[in-house]
């Protein structure tokens, strides 16, 4: 074995290490950002509740938290934002702009990543409670069931003038690691008096 071979080998090994570290860091950045965004959004949410004015989670953010979703059975709380730009899903569940507002007639559609904010959707069962707080007030929904649909054939018609419902959307299959066309939809209806 000649020395040059060894140095080529260690050089490429080093290159691999560096590339691997960069990619891993990039990958870890995604869930980290998802977490940090939620922390920042929750303090913005508190400010918003106390002042009544929309508060930005960080100075250059272009949104403010829209709703707080609580899942008591799963002991989970996430802050949602309104779909303002393509990247909003990176920060939290997103209330799709085309959908109804939670508590209004029609369907309020929240979408989030299956591997970050909506990872717990797999544990949500019919009958579970979902509480949604917005600046307008607080609504309690009961999970009625779930669907698996194609992204472009969702059967969700947001403004169908039906009773107030919510649809929580994430990617399907829940355990898959690669993207696909299918979506998992958890349906919930407004609880009486909620």
């Amino acid at each position: 074995m000649k020395p040059t071979d060894i140095s080529t080998r260690s050089l490429s090994a080093l290159a691999l290490l560096v590339a691997g570290a960069l990619i891993a860091a990039q990958a870890l950045y995604i869930p980290a950002k998802a977490q940090v965004a939620q922390v920042l959004m929750s303090s913005a949410w508190e400010r918003q509740l106390s002042t009544g004015d929309p508060a930005r989670p960080w100075p250059w953010a272009d949104f403010s938290p829209t709703a707080r979703l609580s899942f008591p059975a799963q002991n989970k709380t996430v802050l949602a934002l309104t779909d303002a730009a393509g990247e909003s899903l990176a920060f939290g569940p997103t209330l799709m702009a085309a959908s109804a507002r939670p508590g209004e007639r029609g369907v309020a559609v929240f979408a989030a990543h299956r591997d970050t904010h909506f990872a717990f959707l797999k544990d949500v069962k019919p009958g579970d409670t979902v509480t949604i707080e917005t600046t307008d007030g607080r609504h309690t929904f009961s999970v009625t069931g779930s669907d698996i649909v194609r992204w472009d054939d969702s059967n969700i018609v947001p403004h169908d003038n039906g009773p107030p419902r919510i649809a929580l959307v994430t990617c399907w299959p829940l355990e898959a690691k690669t993207p696909g066309p299918m979506r998992y939809v958890v349906w919930a209806g407004l609880r009486e008096g909620g």
Binding site: A27, I30, W60, L89, T94, H113, P179
Partner: protein
């Protein structure tokens, strides 16, 4: 401010990387489903509405043909492009194309199949309704709208399966004169300005009032960041590129010394002393860079002034391009106070930042010890190097150079505080010293109204010189900012030519400027634009348009250069008749109205003025659109024809030249079949099926691929580590390695190891 903020976000490179994974469509989203968003369109292309709102499938473009008639400074351009509907459905297409910033678009003609339609100018909202109704009726219809001052879109309704569509747009433009060289630029690329780079925001803001109502893409806000450049589209990338041919007739009006292009090779035929016919050496070229044509008069033949006129509705419109004599001012370098402002926001990262730094370092070198200077850098924060402007001595310069060299591009783009700080003038009344603000940026300006107000109110004796960095600076904004700041705009797009390109800036900064430029109109003449006339920097001509009732009397231009007065007088009757001058005047008047918004005119008055002028002159503007409707319904009600037809019947008088030759036909046929993945995404919107508003909500991608990425990253690390370990073992046993080579070394190494 919210858009400003979002820029900051979007420009962060780390985020951008992460955003790629933010949908179920992985980084190769474009490759996977073949769709693009409007913001990702990089050159004129026909977009077919896909089943995802706001995402489009690019229709294969067969060919484009540019015919330019240049008469003196007046340019008439006719752009013809032909597309094929690759699907077996009736579709609606949206076609986005770039044009020069001050292009006056006045004509739209569409051939869909065997139908020929000509557009008419209407108020934007009205045009939209006419178009939508025709589309719903199954009539063929077309609509041209101004999306940005230099980006237009055409919508086309009811394009039949496999049909070929030809779109012809005509506009009026004027040639630029710079240091004695005439030139024109035909944009072939909508540079990243229209991908979600910071520059997306400001112009969108400007028109959002209108777009909010009329936008054919109601969810434009949701356009996702670019995932893959369309040019890298995997299936037949070469084929999908836009081949363009040029046919240019040049009547310069003077003896020509040289015709050249720094972007493309040229073939000049039928060359005369003062005219020529120009084509491209390579025939058709891919639309990957702007086409730039320059022509130069023989030194002795260079006219000092050219005057052109056109009669329209009993009135005469004039265009004057006047080259003031070069007044040499010897030994009169005035001391300067120069404030350099450099943008180090995330959008500048990479080559742009290097260019900006290089340019600024060069500029620092040109300061004299008697000058004063300061450096301000900004992203979403801001730093001033010195608390106030300091002498340009060696020590201060060294400190500034260190500061500049260490700049890193990161963060958002909060330009207003930096601009305000740069305009703070502690010595307002000092007329002896020139005060210059040099703004180096890619134009990620979020709130131009605020910036314009800051400029209008706070300019004082300061002059603003904008320097546009990178491949896609927001030229529209920076030109206007420079005009309002009474300075110049310099374009720096080539990292290898920073020195060359900054020469124009230095010439402007260091040479005396002609001020108090005024025009005296004869009786009956009025409405000269631009108004007021800007200061003239070295090498710049006076270009103005005006309207007059009759061609009598004299036009007198005057200006002051270092205390000396320059005047020049022309007789209006000398003007040569040329078509298109009236359109140029109309466009200039519209620009004048738009600009007066920042100097106090009420929004209603601005809108009223723009609308009236645009309708009078048949021009597309922020408030007016061209709409064309075919009287006869084309799409058979109810049923869908299942045969493909490529109809190319063209009316007389349409010279597509080479475009419609057999070669083009062959190319068209090649694109008949797109991959199935692309086909699946086509939605025959508003044609046969339920309109999307009532149908299913399309769900966004809802998974990141971070786990996959992590596994991949860790895999690489593991592999690298294994390789390294093996390498180490080998290094460790190196003493033994030569054992097989020679006995002597064996002995020694064995011994040494023992």
């Amino acid at each position: 401010m919210s858009t400003l903020a979002s820029h900051g976000l979007r420009t962060r490179p780390a985020l951008a990387g992460a955003l790629l994974a933010a949908t179920c469509l992985t980084p190769a989203a474009y490759a996977q489903d073949g769709t693009v968003s409007k913001s990702e369109v990089s050159s004129g292309s026909l977009l077919l509405q896909s089943s995802t709102p706001g995402r489009y499938v690019e229709a294969p473009l067969v060919a484009a043909d540019v015919k330019m008639d240049i008469a003196g400074p007046v340019i008439r351009t006719r752009l013809t492009q032909r597309f094929t509907n690759p699907t077996d459905k009736w579709v609606e297409g949206v076609y986005a194309f770039p044009l020069p910033e001050d292009a006056a678009v006045d004509t739209l003609k569409i051939v869909i199949g065997d139908r020929f339609i000509e557009g008419d100018i209407k108020e934007r909202q009205e045009a939209r309704i006419i178009y939508a109704e025709a589309a719903a009726n199954g009539q063929r219809a077309g609509l041209v709208e101004e999306e940005r001052p230099n980006l237009f879109t055409t919508s086309l309704a009811n394009i039949g399966p496999g049909e070929t569509v030809a779109i012809q747009i005509e506009y009026q433009d004027k040639a630029r004169l710079d240091n004695g060289v005439w030139s024109t630029r035909f944009p072939l690329v909508i540079a990243p300005r229209y991908s979600p780079k910071p520059t997306f925001g400001p112009t969108a803001d400007r028109t959002s009032r209108i777009l909010a109502v009329n936008d054919p893409v109601p969810d434009r806000d949701r356009i996702t960041p670019p995932v893959l450049h369309p040019a890298h589209e995997p299936s037949g990338a070469e084929g999908l590129r836009l081949p363009v041919s040029f046919d240019i007739a040049l009547e310069s009006g003077f003896r020509l010394a040289d015709i050249s292009s720094r972007s493309h090779g040229l073939i000049v035929t039928e060359a005369d002393a003062d005219s020529a016919r120009i084509k491209l050496q390579d025939g058709e070229v891919p639309a990957d860079r702007d086409f730039i044509l320059s022509w130069k008069p023989e030194p002795a033949a260079a006219p000092t002034a050219s005057l052109f006129r056109e009669e329209r509705n009993g009135e005469d419109y004039l265009l004057a391009v006047v080259n003031p004599p070069v007044l040499r001012v010897e030994g009169q370098r005035r001391d300067r106070e120069t404030i350099f402002v450099i943008d180090n926001s995330g959008s500048m990262s990479g080559e742009s930042m290097d260019q900006a730094k290089q340019g600024l370092l060069l500029a620092l070198d040109r300061l004299a010890p008697t000058d004063e200077f300061n450096v301000i850098r900004f992203d979403d924060t801001m730093d001033m190097l010195f608390t106030t402007a300091v002498a340009a001595n060696a020590q201060n310069l060294a400190r500034a150079k260190r500061f500049v060299s260490n700049l890193q591009a990161n963060g958002g783009t909060e330009m207003l505080p930096a601009l305000r700080a740069a305009l703070v003038d502690n010595d307002r009344s000092n007329a002896e010293e020139v005060r210059q603000v040099v703004f180096i940026t890619d134009g990620a300006i979020g709130n131009e109204d605020e910036l314009f107000s800051a400029l209008t109110g706070g300019l004082g004796r300061s002059r603003l010189f904008t320097v546009g960095i990178g491949s896609a600076p927001n030229a529209y904004f920076m030109t206007r900012a420079a005009r309002q700041g009474r300075g110049t705009f310099t374009y720096m797009d080539d990292v290898t030519k920073v020195a060359e390109q900054s020469a124009k800036l230095f010439a402007a900064l260091e040479n005396p400027v002609m001020t108090d430029l005024a025009v005296k109109l004869p009786d009956g003449a009025a409405d000269a634009y631009p108004s007021p006339l800007p200061d003239l920097y070295a090498g710049e001509p006076v270009t103005l348009v005006l309207r007059t009732a009759d061609l009598k009397g004299d036009l007198t231009l005057s200006g002051k250069l270092n205390g000396r007065t320059w005047t020049q007088t022309f007789s209006l009757s000398e003007a040569a008749a040329t078509k298109g001058v009236a359109q140029l005047w109309g466009r200039a008047k519209i620009a004048g109205f738009e600009e007066s918004r920042y100097s106090g005119m009420s929004l209603e008055d601005v809108d009223k003025g723009v609308l009236r002028t645009a309708l009078d002159f048949h021009l597309v503007s922020r408030l007016t659109s061209l709409v064309a409707v075919d009287k006869t319904p084309a799409r058979p009600a109810g049923e869908r024809p299942d045969t493909r037809q490529i109809a190319t019947m063209l009316p007389k008088g349409w010279d597509f030249g080479a475009v419609f030759g057999p070669e083009a036909e062959a190319r068209a046929l090649r694109f008949d079949h797109l991959p199935d993945t692309v086909m699946q995404n086509i939605n025959a919107r508003a044609m046969q099926e339920k309109p999307p508003a009532e149908s299913n909500l399309a769900l966004p991608g809802a998974a990141t691929t971070w786990e996959l990425m992590l596994a991949f990253g860790l895999g690489l690390i593991a592999f690298g580590a294994a390789l390294l370990r093996r390498g180490r073992i080998l290094i460790g046993s190196r003493g033994l390695a030569p054992a097989s080579v020679g006995p002597s070394s064996t002995a020694s190494s064995v011994r040494s190891r023992r």
